[in-house]
Symmetry: C2
Subunit: 201 residues, 2 copies
């Protein structure tokens, strides 16, 4: 023991683990957690089930990794938007980002965190709960940003940060469903404009 050698031992992995995860993410995105079978996942990843289990553990952990990648990639807009200078700009950037991500020129429509496991059987309860937390966290971060905006005088003093955050999140979820329904980015951007009409001065 005590040997901290990091040299790679044994047979090297025969596939690009990052690319495989990216492809798995897209399958989960399109099919949801339960709708994505191991056969389809590994087929898209270009590896066998054995390799997948060796590299990721099991289906649920593969999903968790894919969700992590989704948050850092396609859904990064949710975090980036928080850096906008005003609350209005934050909300607008958040919703425009949601539109862009849910209607990619190629790839699945909608939002992984919404269609992943809105409703599911017993066995995927853990994944369902994970996604509930994920969505709620996004709302909390938005709420904190709006609270700061009130403190900074950027939002009127009587504005309710939690309420505004929930409103924006609701629009975001609705956009995800509309995107899955077939609406394109232009139509969704119009909806965003309509939603912003009532934004506090």
């Amino acid at each position: 023991m005590g040997n901290s050698r990091k040299a790679v031992m044994g047979r090297p992995r025969g596939f690009d683990i990052d690319q495989a995860l990216e492809r798995a993410m897209r399958v989960f995105w399109a099919r949801g957690y339960e709708g994505a079978s191991l056969a389809e996942l590994t087929g898209a990843m270009g590896i066998t089930k054995t390799s997948m289990y060796a590299a990721f553990g099991n289906k649920e952990q593969l999903f968790r990794k894919a969700l992590q990648r989704y948050g850092a990639g396609p859904a990064a807009y949710a975090t980036c938007a928080l850096e906008e200078p005003t609350a209005r700009a934050v909300a607008l950037a958040f919703l425009r980002g949601a539109v862009r991500t849910t209607t990619p020129p190629e790839g699945p429509s909608g939002c992984l965190t919404v269609q992943g496991a809105l409703a599911a059987g017993d066995e995927s309860q853990a994944v369902h709960d994970l996604l509930v937390d994920w969505r709620n966290d996004a709302g909390v971060r938005l709420e904190e940003r709006f609270r700061r905006a009130v403190d900074e005088g950027d939002l009127p003093r009587d504005a309710d940060p939690r309420r505004l955050a929930r409103f924006v999140m609701t629009m975001g979820f609705g956009i995800a469903v509309q995107a899955a329904n077939g609406l394109g980015p232009a139509e969704l951007d119009e909806i965003v404009d309509t939603a912003m009409l009532g934004w506090p001065a």
Copy 2:
């Protein structure tokens, strides 16, 4: 032939078909189409698989009947709202109805038509498409109602009925997701109030 006798022949059905359908609807509502297994469905319906197949055909047709019942029952608000006198009242009634239906005091949270099959495997493509049509139809009916409102001078002449209808539908979908996320009717009603702030005079 020609015998139009309606007398019931053979062994009478041993269960209330209406009640069984109601219970199946609730299981689909909570679990989604794929997440609801025949075992859970028939268990909740209080009948065996054989009886279910004899009475409803198969799982997909059971879902179609359940969806029909959902539209006539819990989701009747979507049609009733159209009868309100003004466009604003229609939108408000629609969204309040969505809040009430997606947060029942007992029974599953969320909306059957949203969590039914947002994302799914190949085999339930037909159900997925059915729900896409269902949701789009609701939007079209709302759009027609708002178009009438413009004609009647109830909405400003430069208002875009389609855009408004899509906005309201988006809010409705978002509310369904928020309800599934655990938000209660009071919080959702606040969100509705916020959404209505930008409604055209």
